[in-house]
Amino acid sequence: MVRKNETIVESASEGTMHLVAGNVTGTQTLGVKVDRSVSVESLARSVASRMALPGNVEWALRDERSSAYLRDGESIGTQLEPGARVTLTPKTHLG
């Protein structure tokens, strides 16, 4: 925490936050309590594992509010608000 002009500013990467994660078809929904410092990539891998999704696929997390993909290498805490809903999306294609 940083004291700045008597205002306490919480670091976006400290502490935990709660999220809701779902798969693209909506058949699985998980409540997630995660350290804010965890990277998007790590969280995506963990959620995929918990949902028993294929391990040989790379996964992206999409913020349902903005519809945008989260940046893999950066922490969850810097990209999402507590209570956010994310969707686990495979980085694969039909062909």
């Binding site: 779902g22 997630v32 918990r50 969707t87 694969t92 062909g95």
Partner: protein, 396 residues
Amino acid sequence: MSGSNPTTAETSLSVPLPEPTGLAIELRLSAQGPVAARETVAAGDLGDAFAEARWRTGACRGFLDTPPEELGVKVSPSFHSDDPKRCVGFRIHSQDPSGSPCSSPFDFDCLEPVASRMAARLIKDGTLQAGESYFYSITTTNDLPKTPDEPKASQIQFSSRSSGLSHVICELAPLLEQARSVDHRENDPRHPVIYTKEARQSAERIARKGGDVRPPVEKGGVLIGYFGLCPVSRRIFVVVTDALEATDAAEKEFSLSFSSRTWARIQGIMNARREDPLTAAHRLLGQFHSHPFLPDNGAPPCEACATAKVCGRNTAFLSAADHLWCRAVFAGQPWQIGHVFGLNARGDDTEAFFGQFRGRLRPRGYHVISGSALSEITMKSPSVSLPESDSTGGPA
């Protein structure tokens, strides 16, 4: 609305999966060559097989109100009838909510993803060349699988809810009487798939639009519908009501990639459907797309072409990329279907329809009925059964 509500159960842990599975995959560089790699099959590798076994044990016996995850499963290897030491597959044993047992057989080809993963490692270390053939077989083992690296348990905690499967209660016999069969075999043990004529035509029209541009591009989308449960036979069936185009997708000559906007639109539509009592049981059922290219890189038709009734060379198949995409998107959903629209060597339109069977997407047939006939039959006794919604947004 009548019909029982499927139960919703809080589960911080589901019924534990059998670990170890007792199975392993052996990979060889030639059919009779030495084992180049060996890997124990983890419970996670059998996810689709477990889901299919639970589907057969629960939903296919009319027990849609029981969360599939609550049905315990047990794995046992299967051996060749003439050679008891030769493992050829496995069985998954389960019990339905009434206590009746169910045993589902699986061939080892459903473990192709494990072999593929092993091959990728061999390519990386130079033992196998990219594109080189390999052979794999299944065997038994007492070894434990490797544990994947994951963040520390304290950093991420999960909670989940499992629930029954939403469905529409409707008699099946009148639907089949009105429907026309396409490639359906009478002895097919799988649940029937009923496609409205409008959805089927829409899927083909959307998919084949890609052939109107030069060079042609793959186009496609998702198939939407619901589960039906016949109150007379207690048989489950799948009804496909819509083909939704994948807009804002990256459409290329040999690939179709859904973007974040593609998924956002699909999910927005599905969320809206679940809010509407008339479509609350709707779910994503599968995908459709085109292969708008000629087989064998456009090689001319064979000598038999002039006299053969049917051209066997065509591009209506599921590629390795298609299998991977379907496994990723529809993991644990054994009701998934796929429709591919391609061309044969003569340049004629051809198609193939797929459903999961014994752990892998395989060709299957379906029945076509007009949307008006479907509405007339289903509206005679409208009844939708939905799981209780939960605070996390509700299951499909």
